[in-house]
C-alpha cells in the first residue's frame, strides 16, 4: 500500500519522544501499549501466584501470614482477569481489527487513547491498596458480600474505584470496536467475509457493553453499603448476600466468555495458516460463537449450586450450562477438521494453537462435569474448580494470546523472533502448565478447598508437584519477555508474509507496518 502524498501528510507521523505515547491516537501505538501493559500485569499477577505456590509448597506456616495470603489470591485473580487477559485481547483488537477489515484506524481514536490511559491509573490504585492500613482486598476476586462489605478492609473503597475505572475503559473500548467493525469495513468486506477474530471480537464487545454496567451497579451498591449504611447485601438490614452473587455472576459468566471468545478467533486464524487449508465450517464457527454468547446470559447460577436454590432453578441452570458444550464442541471439531487434509508445519504459533485445542478441551470437559448440579456439591469451591478454570484460562486464553503474539510479531516489528528460543519457551510453558494444574484436579477431588493457605497432610504431595510446575511456568515467561524484546530490537528481517499459508489483509502490508495503513481502502477479492 502506498499512500497518495498530499499536503497535510507531514504532521501525520508520530510525535517525538515519550510524549508521542501520551497523545497518540494511532491504533497500532495504542494496541502496543495495551499489550505491554497487559504483559507487565501478567508478570505482576504471576509474581503473586508464585507467592501463593511458595506458601502451598508444603503444609504449615511457611512464608506468609493467612491475611497476606488472602490478599495474594485476590490480587492474583483480579490482576490476571482485568489486567492481563482482558487488556491483551483489547490490545490485539486495536492492533489487528483495522488491518483485518481494511480500515485506516479505529473509528473513535481519541476515545481509544482515553480508554487506554485510564487503565494504568486503575491498576496503580488497585496495587497501592496492598500498602494501605488493613491491607488490600482479601476477599477473593469474586469479592462476595458481606466479607467484602461489612467485613472488608478499609481499602475496599479504593478497590471499587479502580474497578469502576476498568469498567469504564472496557465499555469505551467495546463501543469503539463495535463502531469500527460496523462502519469502517473496506468496500467488499461483507459480514461473512470478516476474519473470525473480527467476528469473535464483535460478539465479545456486545457482551462487554451488556455486562460491565451490571458490574458497575454491583460495586456501586457495595460502595453504598460501606459508606452510606445501606443494606443491599446486609442481612441484618433486610438485604441479601445472595443478591450480590446473582448480580456478580450475571456479570461474571459472560465475563469468562469475554476472556475466551477472542481466543477462538485467534486460533481460527492460526490453524488454517499452518495447515495451509481454509478454516472448516466458517459459518458454523460464527453461529457457534453467537450461540455461546447468548447462552452465557442464562447460566450464571451454576456458580451457585450450593447456596440453596429450589430444585427447578438447579435443574434449569444445570441444563442450560450443559447445552453450551454443543457450540463449544462444534468449534473443536471444526479445528480438527481443518487439520485433516491439510499440509501442516509446526512453527511456534501453531504449537501454541494445538496446545490450546487440547488443553482448552480438557478444561471444557471438567466444565461439563461441573455443570452436573448434584456432583457439583462435591466439586464446588475445591481445587477441582481451580484446575478447571486455570485450564481454560492459562493454556486457553493465555496460550492463544501467546500464539497470536508469535503469529503477528514479525508483522509488527519487521523482524523474525528466535525460533529455537521460542520453542524452548513453548515446551517449558506446556510442561509447566500441566505439572502445575493437572494435579490440582486430584487434590480437589480428594477434598481440598480452594483459597486456603494451609492444608491437611494428605494433600502435601500433589501440592508440592503443582508448585514446582508453577515455578517452571513462571520462569518460562521471563524467557518470553526476552524473546519479544530481542525481536523488537532486531533479528532476521521478516517478509510481508512470513507464514506461507497465512490469509488476511494484514499480510498484504509490508513488515514492519507503516505508521498509517489503508488510507485508501484495499480491494477485497
Amino acid at each position: 500500500m502506498t499512500a497518495i502524498p498530499h499536503d497535510d501528510h507531514a504532521h501525520h507521523g508520530p510525535a517525538k519522544g515519550l510524549w508521542r505515547w501520551v497523545v497518540t491516537t494511532n491504533h497500532k501505538d495504542i494496541g502496543a501499549m495495551y499489550l505491554w501493559l497487559s504483559f507487565a500485569m501478567f508478570l505482576l499477577g504471576g509474581a503473586f501466584a508464585m507467592v501463593i505456590r511458595a506458601e502451598l509448597f508444603q503444609p504449615g506456616f511457611s512464608l506468609v501470614a493467612p491475611e497476606f495470603f488472602n490478599q495474594m489470591t485476590t490480587m492474583h485473580g483480579l490482576i490476571m482477569v482485568f489486567g492481563a487477559v482482558m487488556p491483551a485481547f483489547v490490545g490485539l483488537a486495536n492492533y489487528m481489527i483495522p488491518l483485518m477489515i481494511g480500515a485506516p484506524d479505529m473509528a473513535l481514536p481519541r476515545l481509544n487513547n482515553l480508554s487506554f490511559w485510564i487503565l494504568p491509573f486503575a491498576f496503580l490504585i488497585l496495587v497501592s491498596t496492598l500498602f494501605m492500613e488493613g491491607g488490600g482486598p482479601n476477599f477473593g476476586w469474586t469479592f462476595y458480600a458481606p466479607l467484602s462489605t461489612t467485613y472488608g478492609p478499609p481499602s475496599t473503597v479504593f478497590f471499587i474505584l479502580s474497578m469502576h475505572i476498568m469498567g469504564a475503559s472496557s465499555i469505551m473500548g467495546a463501543i469503539n470496536i463495535i463502531v469500527t467493525i460496523w462502519n469502517m469495513r473496506a468496500p467488499g468486506m461483507t459480514w461473512m467475509k470478516m476474519p473470525l477474530f473480527v467476528w469473535t471480537w464483535l460478539i465479545t464487545a456486545f457482551l462487554l457493553i451488556m455486562v460491565m454496567p451490571v458490574l458497575a451497579g454491583l460495586i456501586t451498591m457495595m460502595l453504598l453499603d460501606i459508606t452510606a449504611q445501606t443494606s443491599f447485601f446486609n442481612a441484618a438490614g433486610g438485604g441479601s448476600p445472595l443478591l450480590f452473587q446473582h448480580l456478580f455472576w450475571f456479570f461474571g459468566h459472560p465475563e469468562v466468555y469475554i476472556m475466551i471468545l477472542p481466543a477462538f478467533g485467534i486460533i481460527s486464524a492460526i490453524i488454517p495458516a499452518f495447515a495451509r487449508k481454509p478454516l472448516f465450517g466458517y459459518a458454523s464457527m460464527v453461529y457457534a460463537t453467537a450461540a455461546i454468547a447468548i447462552l452465557s446470559f442464562f447460566v450464571w447460577a451454576h456458580h451457585m449450586f450450593t447456596v440453596g436454590m429450589p430444585f427447578a432453578a438447579q435443574l434449569f441452570f444445570m441444563i442450560s450450562t450443559m447445552i453450551i458444550a454443543v457450540p463449544t464442541g462444534v468449534k473443536v471439531f471444526n479445528w480438527v477438521a481443518t487439520m485433516i487434509g491439510g499440509s501442516m508445519t509446526f512453527e511456534v504459533p501453531m504449537l501454541f494453537a494445538i496446545a490450546f485445542v487440547v488443553l482448552f478441551t480438557i478444561g471444557g470437559f471438567s466444565g461439563l462435569m461441573l455443570a452436573i448440579a448434584p456432583v457439583d456439591y462435591q466439586y464446588h469451591d475445591t481445587y477441582f474448580v481451580v484446575a478447571h478454570f486455570h485450564y481454560v484460562l492459562v493454556p486457553g486464553a493465555v496460550f492463544s494470546i501467546m500464539a497470536g503474539v508469535y503469529y503477528w510479531l514479525p508483522k509488527w516489528t519487521g523482524n523474525m523472533f528466535h525460533e529455537g528460543l521460542a520453542k524452548v519457551h513453548f515446551w517449558m510453558s506446556f510442561v509447566g502448565v500441566n505439572v502445575a494444574f493437572f494435579p490440582q484436579h486430584f487434590v480437589g477431588l480428594a477434598g481440598m478447598p480452594r483459597r486456603i493457605p494451609d492444608y491437611p497432610l494428605q494433600f502435601a504431595n500433589f501440592n508440592m508437584i503443582s508448585s514446582m510446575g508453577a515455578f517452571l511456568f513462571g520462569l518460562s515467561q521471563l524467557l518470553f519477555m526476552f524473546i519479544v524484546i530481542k525481536c523488537v530490537m532486531g533479528g532476521k528481517k521478516a517478509e510481508a508474509k512470513p507464514w506461507e499459508g497465512a490469509e488476511g489483509l494484514e499480510w498484504d502490508l509490508p513488515s514492519p507496518l507503516p505508521y498509517h495503513t489503508f488510507e485508501t481502502p484495499p480491494e477485497i477479492k
Binding site: N138, P241, G308, F311, V326, V336, G341, Q378, Y455
Partner: protein, 280 residues
C-alpha cells in the same frame, strides 16, 4: 517377565493399581472423589465416574483423530493441502450427537438431584451456625430447655501449624467438640451463618451447603456406617478460613441417645447453676 504377561492381565494389573490408589492404600496420593457413606454420596460418586468415563472416551477419540491428522498431513511428508472447508451433513451430525450424549448425562443427574430434594421426616435436627472461625451445633428440641448447643473449633495446636512440632495425622482436621449424629437415622441440618458466608462440607455425606447470614438452608442425610468423618469450610470466610474444620462422629442410635442425654444433663445442670447464681 513382562513379555509373558498377556495384554489383558497387564491392563487388569494397571486397573487394580489405580483402584488401590483411589481406595487410599497409597496415602497422600489420592486422586479421586470419595464414595462416601450415604446413598446420595454413592449416587454422586457414580455420576462423577460416569461423567469421567464419557469425557475420557470423547477426549481419546477427538485427540486421537487430531494426532492422526498431525502425523498424516504433514508438509514434511509431502502432504498436499485440500481445499474443502464445509460439509453440512458432518456439521449437523456433530451438533446432534453431542446433544444426545448430553441428554444421556442429564437424565441420571436429574434423578439424583430429585432424590436429594426428596427429603424424609427427620428424627434429629441440628442447627449449624457458621462463625468466624468455628461452627456452632444446636440440637433442636420441642422445648428450648432440652436443646443442646456447643461450639466446635480447630484443636490442632498452634505449634504444629508454625512447624515447631511434627504435624499429627489429622493436622487441621481435628476439633475440640465434634458433631455427633446417629447412624441409619434421617438427620436434618439447618445451616446458617452469623457473620460472613461459610460452607458446611462433609465429602463422605455428599453434602456441601453454604451457610449464608439471614438465610436458613436445609440439608438431609442418612449415614449408613458409623465412624468419624471430616471436612473443611468451603467458602472463603476471612483470615482463618483454612482453620475451621468439621468433624462428625456417627454412632449407633442408642449410643447417640445416651450421649445426647448426657449433654442435656450438663446443660441443664449448667442452666440451673446460672439460675441459682441469679437468684442469690
Amino acid at each position: 517377565m513382562l513379555k509373558r504377561l498377556r495384554p489383558l492381565s497387564l491392563l487388569a494389573a494397571v486397573f487394580s493399581a489405580l483402584s488401590l490408589a483411589s481406595s487410599g492404600a497409597l496415602a497422600g496420593w489420592e486422586t479421586n472423589m470419595t464414595r462416601g457413606v450415604t446413598e446420595i454420596s454413592h449416587e454422586i460418586y457414580n455420576l462423577h465416574m460416569m461423567m469421567l468415563y464419557i469425557v475420557t472416551v470423547i477426549g481419546v477419540l477427538v485427540f486421537g483423530v487430531m494426532f492422526w491428522a498431525m502425523f498424516k498431513f504433514r508438509k514434511s511428508k509431502g502432504a498436499k493441502p485440500a481445499t474443502w472447508h464445509e460439509n453440512t451433513r458432518l456439521e449437523v451430525l456433530w451438533t446432534v450427537i453431542p446433544l444426545f450424549i448430553l441428554i444421556g448425562m442429564a437424565i441420571p443427574a436429574t434423578m439424583t438431584l430429585a432424590k436429594i430434594y426428596d427429603t424424609p421426616d427427620a428424627d434429629v435436627t441440628v442447627k449449624i451456625d457458621g462463625y468466624q472461625w468455628r461452627w456452632q451445633y444446636t440440637y433442636l428440641a420441642d422445648s428450648p430447655d432440652d436443646e443442646v448447643s456447643f461450639f466446635s473449633a480447630l484443636s490442632t495446636p498452634r505449634f504444629e501449624i508454625r512447624g515447631e512440632a511434627e504435624k499429627s495425622e489429622w493436622y487441621l482436621l481435628d476439633v475440640d467438640n465434634p458433631l455427633v449424629i446417629p447412624a441409619n437415622t434421617p438427620v436434618k441440618f439447618l445451616i446458617t451463618a452469623n457473620d460472613v458466608i461459610h460452607s458446611w462440607w462433609v465429602p463422605d455425606f455428599g453434602i456441601k451447603k453454604d451457610a449464608v447470614p439471614g438465610i436458613i438452608n436445609e440439608s438431609h442425610t442418612t449415614v449408613l456406617e458409623t465412624g468419624t468423618y471430616r471436612g473443611m469450610c468451603a467458602e472463603l470466610c476471612g483470615r482463618d478460613h483454612a482453620y475451621m474444620p468439621i468433624v462428625v462422629e456417627v454412632v449407633e442410635p442408642d449410643e447417640f441417645e445416651q450421649w445426647l442425654a448426657e449433654q442435656r444433663g450438663d446443660t441443664a445442670a449448667a442452666g440451673s447453676e446460672t439460675l441459682n447464681t441469679a437468684g442469690q
